[in-house]
């Protein structure tokens, strides 16, 4: 689609050898571009292919062997490949070559036949490392686009599921796919999505991360406006709510949009456990959000401005533990927060055994030594540890990163203004959240604009049979998704 025009050397030649030379020239004498002459009956011909991209066995079994059998009259009779087309010009042919296809030329024939024979190197379908669930499906998307679509189609067996391919990246020519449910998704949304994608003009689009930045509404916001997932069940659940999925070849990540803030707090586990437990964990995660963002700031405010709010029984202990500290609470908390960030960043990409060592050295040694050296108070260690744990509760790693960044400005604000700083910080945060949009849809829905009915699957997780309608933020065409499944219980 966005194949850049290169000077094409006119139409295909009648002579196979000339054609082969033209491609050698077109690919700048690339070493892995190969020719293989053959004879079919009385006519001679040549196969052109890129050695590293084709499956040698398939070429031998389904192209070369049938061609050597002389009883066929037409080459189309002989070739036993599933994909058998013709390329109109050199551009199309070159693109086919790059996709791992084999070109077949015959003497005295100007047509360029294209046979599918791609090599497919697949990783096994395994559970994503960073989105594990206790119960539920344990498969995950892989780096191959067709496999991902396969996983999707297997879960939603309906003709309304539309997959649309596009090629992005002028150099990388990455195949991408938009998937949506035609009878549910708002056509305006799909149109808007396609419009945004059509504007993309960049060299490489290896992963959806590149595309994400191109299509998101507000790129300076700390909040992710597209949901990343490697879980087919999560993708399908969102698809059937009327959201749009975006896949890219070469990446196991599926992008979902539009999403709301609360989408990041939903986990497939919620639906696999009972609704009361699911609701409890939903609320717990939102509580964890508050802790992760505000606890260090709250601590700083209390210790440096509002000591009268500390309960009488606790104030002496707190005072005792911070009395000998040489610097203000902000520096103390920042120091510890940055230490935690360092430990996390150091451990995250290391092999597991070294990662564990880092965890022990960082967590135990630094944590203990820093207190006995009188650099940081016990209370700060507790606050920072709680904050770190709370920030990892979010089921999405993108939101997790955002949360960990958000607490720094709040800490600075409270160290200057105390509780006022916290209140103003939260006001700015919530104003931003209310204003934010994802693909033009309200990001903080259903909290703002408030829709009490939609809190059933955000703040809590009501029983599935009580969730009769889709969330309103995606403006789905078909709003009813459940209808009296427990009719048997009404007498």
């Amino acid at each position: 689609m966005s194949w850049r025009k290169r000077e094409a050397p006119g139409p295909f030649s009648e002579h196979p050898a000339e054609n082969a030379d033209q491609f050698t020239h077109l690919f700048s004498q690339s070493s892995d571009l190969k020719n293989r002459p053959f004879t079919f009956g009385k006519t001679s011909g040549v196969l052109v292919y890129i050695e590293t991209l084709v499956d040698a066995t398939r070429v031998e079994e389904h192209i070369l062997r049938p061609l050597s059998v002389h009883s066929y009259k037409e080459p189309s009779d002989a070739l036993t490949v599933l994909e058998f087309t013709e390329a109109q010009n050199h551009d199309k042919a070159a693109q086919a070559l790059l996709q791992g296809k084999v070109l077949v030329f015959f003497e005295g024939d100007r047509t360029c036949r294209v046979c599918g024979s791609e090599k497919v190197a697949l990783r096994a379908i395994t559970e994503p490392m960073n989105e594990k669930v206790v119960r539920g499906a344990h498969d995950g998307f892989v780096e191959n686009l067709s496999t991902n679509i396969y996983l999707l189609r297997r879960r939603v067996e309906t003709k309304e599921l539309v997959i649309e391919y596009t090629i992005e990246g002028k150099k990388s020519n990455t195949k991408m796919a938009i998937a949506y449910q035609k009878d549910i998704a708002d056509p305006e949304l799909v149109k808007e999505m396609k419009r945004r994608i059509s504007c993309i003009d960049l060299d490489m689009a290896f992963s959806p991360g590149y595309v994400e930045e191109m299509v998101e509404d507000s790129s300076l916001s700390p909040f992710p406006q597209l949901l990343n997932t490697e879980r087919p069940d999560r993708a399908v659940a969102n698809l059937l709510e009327g959201r749009i999925l975006l896949f890219g070849d070469g990446s196991p990540t599926c992008l979902i949009l539009p999403v709301t803030f609360f989408s990041f707090y939903q986990s497939p586990d919620d639906y696999n456990s009972r609704s009361i437990a699911g609701s409890f964990y939903r609320l717990l995660r939102l509580f964890a959000f508050m802790i992760a963002v505000a606890l260090p700031a709250l601590y700083i405010a209390v210790v440096s401005f509002h000591l009268e709010v500390v309960p009488g029984g606790l104030v002496l202990q707190m005072k005792g533990s911070i009395e000998e500290l040489p610097y203000p609470p902000l520096l103390e908390a920042l120091f510890m927060e940055l230490t935690i960030e360092l430990i996390r960043e150091a451990g995250i990409r290391l092999p597991t055994p070294i990662g564990q060592t880092i965890g022990i050295v960082g967590g135990l040694v630094i944590g203990d030594a820093v207190v006995s050296a009188g650099l940081v108070s016990n209370i700060t260690i507790i606050v920072v540890a709680l904050t770190a744990v709370a920030s990892f509760v979010v089921p999405s790693s993108e939101m997790n990163t955002s949360l960990r960044l958000l607490r720094f400005p709040l800490m600075v604000a409270t160290s200057i203004f105390g509780f006022y700083g916290l209140v103003f910080g939260f006001m700015i945060l919530f104003i931003h959240l209310c204003k934010l949009e994802s693909l033009g849809k309200p990001y903080f829905s259903p909290a703002a604009p408030l829709r009490v009915a939609d809190l059933k699957d955000t703040l809590i997780r009501r029983s599935v049979w009580r969730q009769n309608t889709r969330p309103v933020d995606v403006s789905a065409q078909e709003n009813v998704k459940e209808n009296d499944s427990r009719e048997w219980a009404d007498k």
């Binding site: 209390v302 210790v303 440096s304 401005f305 000591l307 009268e308 500390v310 009488g312 104030v315 002496l316 202990q317 707190m318 005072k319 005792g320 533990s321 911070i322 009395e323 500290l325 203000p328 609470p329 200057i416 105390g418």
Partner: protein, 363 residues
């Protein structure tokens, strides 16, 4: 735009209006005593605790006294003696000497009511003798004065032997014409090296005018429907025996009648359900026995209540807020009558109806 960006942090950071109060720099006082040795002089004694560690408990680090003309001035003179800023926002106990309490106590509290970070839940206590002496005595086994006195008061409140008060709760009766304040009163016991709840100080017009014992306070709290967690009495039952009972439930009806001649008559009608905690003669399974015990208990309680009411009237302390009821019903009439004179003359009748509903786990 650039100028604005520069101006914002300058406005925020260089204006100098920073109200930071670091906890680590604050010198917290948990217990403070106030005495007025002579007219126009205020002595403030403050105890400063030292934080303990896991191994050693918190202790009282210093006891300092300052004097001046006002509470604030005295506190400032204490502030001059300590490192770090004096901080009263975590005050747990405020003690007022009994001689001091016999004068107007509001001027001593005024500074605390004006400060927004005041400890409104601090307990206000009247001490027998000078308040400052309570920080000189040694309390055996207690390292921290503030904790000891606070717990003493709180447990007394739970057992309904002193009224539930604090700095905030005592404020409105001080100003209300129709109600009078009460504060717990503690005394020091030389022999036991400990303090003891003595009873309740009765106030009239912001001045301490009398006191009642712990037992009488329990009776008063029953009349006010303000029984806390527990409430128990030991009453004579029969010729020689005594019976300890726990009051399970009290329902008091207080009816105030103002006659045409402005004579106030108050009827207090109580329904009391009690449980026997200790009564060696037993035989509590006999209905007749229960009946006699009900009656003797009624009589004893009525006597106790009567004594309490008399003491209240002698002290001219309208702790039950009878005046407030008259104001609520007929404010004009209240204006006309001189409540300070009318209250001690008023007629207060107590009628108690007792029912034993439990006798422990033995039959």
């Amino acid at each position: 735009m650039k100028g604005l960006l520069l101006m914002l942090p300058l406005l925020l950071l260089t204006a100098g209006c920073w109200d930071e109060r670091q906890l680590k720099d604050a010198h917290l006082t948990f217990a403070t005593g106030v005495d007025v040795p002579k007219e126009g002089k205020v002595d403030v004694t403050m105890a400063f605790p030292e934080a303990g560690t896991e191994m050693t408990p918190a202790t009282t680090k210093q006891v300092l006294t300052g004097s001046g003309h006002t509470f604030r001035q005295s506190a400032a003179s204490v502030d001059k003696k300590i490192g770090g800023g004096l901080d009263m926002s975590k005050l747990r106990v405020l003690m007022i000497g009994s001689e001091t309490a016999k004068q107007d106590i509001y001027p001593l509290l005024d500074a605390l009511y004006r400060n927004p970070s005041s400890p409104l839940n601090a307990k206000v206590v009247v001490t027998e003798g000078e308040a400052s002496s309570y920080f000189q005595h040694e309390i055996k086994g207690e390292e921290l004065f503030s904790r000891y006195y606070r717990q003493l008061i709180e447990s007394g409140e739970d057992r309904s032997i002193i009224p539930l008060t604090n700095l905030q709760l005592v404020c409105s009766p001080l100003f209300d014409k129709g109600t009078d304040a009460m504060l717990p009163i503690i005394a020091y016991e030389e022999n036991d090296q400990s303090a003891k709840i003595k009873g309740t100080a009765l106030f009239h017009d912001r001045k301490m005018t009398g006191e009642i014992s712990a037992n009488e306070t329990s009776a008063l709290l029953m009349m006010m429907n303000k029984k806390q967690k527990e409430l128990s009495f030991t009453l004579p039952a029969g010729e020689q025996d005594h019976m300890t009972v726990e009051v399970k439930k009290v329902k008091t009806k207080l009816k105030v009648d103002v006659a045409a001649d402005q004579k106030v008559k108050t009827d207090i009608d109580m329904n009391v359900q009690i449980s026997v905690l200790e009564y060696p003669p037993d035989n509590l399974d006999q209905e007749e026995k229960i009946k006699t015990l009900n009656e003797t208990t009624e009589k004893e309680l009525e006597r106790l209540m009567g004594r309490t009411v008399r003491k209240l009237q002698e002290a001219n302390c309208d702790a039950m807020g009878i005046g407030r009821r008259i104001i609520a019903k007929d404010p004009d009439q209240f204006e006309k009558m001189d409540w300070s004179n009318a209250y001690p003359e008023s007629d207060i009748n107590v009628k108690v109806n007792v029912e034993i509903i439990g006798n422990g786990i033995i039959l």
